[in-house]
Amino acid sequence: MKKPKKVLILGSGALQIGQAGEFDYSGSQAIKALKEEGIKTVLINPNIATVQTSEGMADKIYFYPVNAHFVEEVIKKEKPDSILLSFGGQTALNCGVELYKEGILEKYNIDVLGTPVQTIIDTEDRDLFIKRLNEIGAKTASSCAVKSVDDALSAAEKIGYPVMIRSAYTLGGMGSGVAKCEKELTKLSEIAFAYTGQILVEEYLGGWKEIEYEVVRDSCDNCITVCNMENFDPMGIHTGESIVVAPSQTLNDREYHMLRRISIDVIRHLGIVGECNIQFALNPESEEYRIIEVNARLSRSSALASKATGYPLAFIAAKLGLGYSLTELKNSITKKTTACFEPALDYVVVKVPRWDLKKFKKISYEIGSGMKSVGEVMAIGRSFEEAIQKAVRMLQVGMYGISCNDVEFDDIEKLIRNPTDKRLFAIAEALKRGYDVDKLYSMCRIDRWFLHKIENIIKAEEGIAGYKNRPEKMPEELLRGAKALGFSDKQISLIVSAAELDIRKIRKAKGILPAVKQIDTLAAEYPAMTNYLYLTYNGTEDDISFGKNKQVMVLGSGAYCIGSSVEFDWCCVNAVFALKDMGYQTVMVNYNPETVSTDYDICDRLYFDELSLETVLDIYEKENPEGIIISMGGQIPNNIALKLHDYGARVLGTSPEDIDNAEDRHKFSSILDSMGIDQPEWKELTDISKAREFGKEVGYPVLIRPSYVLSGAAMSVARDSQQLESYLKKASVVSVEHPVVISKFYTNTKELEFDAVAENGEIVIWAVSEHIENAGVHSGDATMVLPPQRTYLETIRKMKKISRMIAQRMKINGPFNIQFLAKDNMLKVIELNLRSSRSFPFVSKVMKTNFIRIATGIIMGKKIHIPKLSLDLDYVGVKAPQFSFSRLKGADPITDVEMASTGEVGCLGVNYNEAVLLSMISTGFRIPKKSILLSIGGPENKHKLLRPVKKLLDKGFKIYATDDTSKFLNSNGVKAKMVYKAHNEDSKNSVLEMIDKKEIELIINIPNNPDRVALSDGYVIRRKATDHNVPLITNVQLAKAVIDAITGIEIEDIDVKSWDEFKESY
């Protein structure tokens, strides 16, 4: 095979449910693998916050939508000879199939590296897939591919209810579910057909074990399985929603190797070259199996398997795509042994999904065959109990482990039978209440082995409880045993009623310390100089020695969740790179398998472990670094800054005391007042009647927030006194340590963000971005523009002045972010984050100046060159949120004070319209060609959109509008056809019917007053649009911007430009 010269890599776009940061990791590895060979790389990915789209990664980076049109444009321009399709998730794979089917790859003579496209099609089309597997006698669930609801019903009749619905070409099982009867099947299949032309009706295998293998094959037909994994939750729950354990725990040798052999047979038969994932259902009472699916690409599971084993699947897959054989490649951990081997683990890995369901309105908390989780954590231990307790804490959802949690259960049996995000805790509680394992098994079908392990934890808790109020009397053996079962100091402290640090002291006095172990792929059989580490209490000896000089610890960002995503990983990775350049040894702590920062190549030592006070201190005390950088990983490290500082650890950058001044809402607001800086009217809350008084005084809505919040967690808006009271009751639960502050909530003003770096209180570099949406939309859900397009210079000058004052007062030394409200040149400060913020990568890439590298230099006290920046750019950057509402059944797809987006994109354009349009398309928005439906609440909103809608009409769009909106439009000279809202007797000529008939290409639904009516027409329309994949806009300013863009430019006229082509021209 001839070596390619220039390879085009398709990225995965924004993070969304079912497709998260793991593709930044896999794409980055692919780029590294190609660069090593001297091959030029061109990357298309609109996810501007990724590491792969950073300087020093791909040779050419295009921030454009990953779709056939823009990929073809890039191909025309760059003339690559080859393409990689399997490193950008389902997005890239779907785009690749489209390029292939449309003959674009052939037209430009482009080779597909790795798995051939026909093989991809064979695995993605359920019918073909089953046919191919039948050829070698591999068993699949009996199933039927159908193209209509009627056919689905008759197929189900044949197979027998319950049946499983799956749709082809989707990620994370979207549009799939279990139907127990005809009615359910009709409903489910209707939704599924909105996304795809073909669905599969399948034999239901609920309760079977779910097992996965990661398989690698080279072009010489060498084939290995790198890892197998067992789902804690049996079949019926999507693997992305399941707790997953590697390697399998309850399979004996026969089963393990039977499934392994079948995996290899299947992958050979399909002709995959590179990496793929195969999923099995295994009968828990026999050796009967079914193959569920094959993913002929890097996947979430493969990222997990890479991190679980230390085997760099994406890197190897990229090399295999170039024609290397496995035996020609080395094991990158031992650097000596071959890559053609199967890792042996001497630890156990547990992955737990991270849900964020409470962020969504009207959503069901039940989990099942569709994916709802937004991230995951991976814990490593040498006992299952140790690993799962770590994992639960890593979620950072207020749980201390399997036990000792403050969770209330209404109906425990129901929670166990019908899984929700709380099932694990319900099981622990049931065991505590005396349920036996057999009974629980009959309720949940989770293998008894796992249940026994949870029981071990519960029993150990009882043992510890015997030392309530006298923890110092705990025998060493008992304490050591508890630590080996994964109990944290905090957890033990709760059981015995002591302070966390007292337990730490007692434990250390008894010499009970964790051992540092390496992940070396060969279970210590060969010496390995690996830096990939974890802590365990099931061990007595450290694998490594300590005492190196000039080390700096960087705390990572933890699991992706709403509000904390790939952007903080970018910050961490860049901080590590900067530290390396300055000659420091870097120690990274993080536990998110979907990240680049947890690639052991990035830092000198990677601790894949908790970001808790206990673990960070344990590592700190072993490594004795020069200090800890806590300002890169977002809120999780920020939260332990003061505690680390109080313990005596050296926290680098802005002082934790000043961080506390910013995080503690009461302190912060008082400081602003004392400095004469304007902010929304505020008050620290003492009792409810005073709160009501305050609300009356300043006028509703008001914002209620406890301190130390991220992305609006537990932050709420009350629109009247009744809401205020009910929220206060809720808020007081989450704010034991910090008082609740309420403030006036402004909605009709502009919002601006100030991202900057300061050195000893002096700002050295800054950027201002403007939100398209008015205040009221969470900053994480807002569409941001840089440089600002509608902000007065006077306003910017004032922002700088206020920011300078704050930087000096807080003695800021490192990155920070201030959020402002702006109206008529008047500014109010609404928030200060004394850490890097979500917008740092966006700002750094648009301004072409890496703010994090500068910040890291300042934190380390180095003299660094700081370029002079100007907001006067010849291009515009727009960052747009990515929502995942289509996966969140029932959720109201609307933006509000609570953040709801799961990811973001950022695109550059030669003008505002172009940047807006590109970023919208990158989030999955399809440009309407003919028809648009409007349903606008409130006279003000109607007026605001009148002129833009006129433009649409002039452009030849057919305008449909609901009742009031159509009356308003028609009476103002805009011809609009009236359609009924949802609640219409005969449902004829209604919005819903039009959606069904696919007669509407875009819905603009501006709710006047969100969340007032539980099941309003507006909600029904929005939900229907989302379920039927019709683009939806719910914000008036965004609607205006999008209409301007649609009517202002044509997609065909956009010339694609690589990142480096956007530059200043004087």
Partner: protein, 379 residues
């Protein structure tokens, strides 16, 4: 006190003086042996009944052991169905975390109960990674397992064991302990002869070698390791030399018999596995040596030299063939992709071949089971 069970202390003492403390499971009995490690993640019932482990204290590097219990003792074609022989051959088992509570549809008892039945002690709570690293650095070492329900240093029975010498395993004739006492014939189906017959020289044969031959419609004549099959009355079409424990050079009679078979004018096909590979090599005039810590795992990559294809294999051996000493007419068949040690030899013209790894698997990957087909084709 509920929660953390009353544990009986147990420890492993290595010849270099290092001590690993843990807790006892299985039989409450002290013992000694050669300490080796295996990195396979599944297959403890198979490994523990593999006669090649005779005389050894086995440390499993995978930390969670006992999860799926131990299956019932059932027979098929006169062989234990789920085990590699009729008894446990290891002297003791060393693990990190042991699951007394197990879960599997085929499980009939816990691992500990099964070990008790065979009077085999186990220790859990050991830092098996630290132990493995020691064995890797110092090579396989002699060790003693000391189990005591009371305190460790009370000067009683345990103390007696302390003073006992480390047993020099490599000096004992382990193969004679595990071979069959007299020839036994296995047929693919009851009362039905196979298409061909093979002499299986039992040096400590794993059941799955026999099963693999029976499955291919071969009648298996299993004979003791020192049995002179060349001048016996059995009619056969090929010779198969099994795996087994210890130093191949101790099997003098076997080597002599194989050499005789090779020297026939029209020699019968010969196939060897593991110890069998070493015996074939020694019989051909090549030499063997002891590896520092051996290969005991299910993930050993072996490259077939003629095709460059790589296979993942299951292994369990402490000795290896020195490829440099191969005599004219012979060539290396497989090599280990990690350390380049010999993994199989082949005669260039005559039907003699053998492999160091285990194509019969159990435990381990089944990628090389095609080698049985190769052998059967030659008969």
């Amino acid at each position: 006190m509920r929660g953390i069970r009353t544990k009986a202390a147990a420890k492993l003492i290595l010849k270099d003086g290092s001590v690993f403390c843990g807790y006892s499971f299985g039989a409450s009995k002290s013992t000694s042996g050669e300490v080796v490690f295996n990195t396979g993640m599944t297959g403890y019932p198979e490994a523990m009944t593999d006669p090649s482990y005779r005389g050894q204290i086995l440390c499993l590097t995978y930390p969670l052991i006992g999860n799926y219990g131990v299956p019932a003792k059932e027979y098929s074609c006169g062989l234990e169905k789920s085990f590699e022989s009729g008894s446990i051959h290891i002297r003791a088992l060393i693990v990190s975390s042991y699951s007394e509570l197990n879960s599997h549809w085929s499980s009939k008892k816990s691992l500990g109960e099964w070990m008790e039945e065979f009077c085999i002690p186990g220790i859990y709570g050991i830092d098996t990674r630290a132990l493995t690293k020691k064995l890797r650095e110092h090579g396989t070492m002699l060790g003693k397992v000391i189990v005591d329900n009371n305190a460790i240093d009370d000067g009683t029975e345990a103390a007696g064991y302390h003073n006992r010498k480390f047993e020099e395993i490599s000096k004992s004739d382990l193969v004679s302990e595990v071979t069959v006492s007299s020839p036994t014939v296995y047929k693919p189906e009851e009362n039905k002869k196979g298409s061909k017959a093979v002499i299986l020289v039992d040096c400590g044969c794993k059941n799955n070698i026999i099963r693999s031959l029976l499955k291919r419609n071969i009648t298996v004549i299993r004979v003791p390791y020192d049995y002179d099959f060349n001048s016996s009355g059995y009619e056969f079409d090929g010779i198969f030399i099994s795996n087994g424990p210890g130093d191949p050079k101790m099997c003098r009679d076997t080597i002599r018999n194989v050499r005789t078979a090779m020297e026939q004018e029209t020699p019968k096909p010969i196939f060897g596995i593991c110890l069998g590979n070493q015996i074939v090599a020694l019989a051909s005039g090549a030499d063997t040596y002891k590896l520092k810590y051996g290969h005991r795992s299910q993930n050993q990559p072996c490259i077939e030299k003629s095709t460059s294809r790589c296979y993942i294999t299951s292994q369990n051996h402490g000795y290896a063939v020195d490829a440099k000493t191969l005599q004219p007419g012979w060539k290396e068949w497989f090599v280990n992709a990690n350390d380049n040690t010999n993994e199989g030899i082949l005669h260039k013209t005559k039907p003699f071949m053998s492999v160091q790894f285990h194509p019969e698997a159990t435990a381990g990957p089944v990628d090389t089971s095609y080698l049985f087909d190769r052998f059967v084709e030659m008969l």
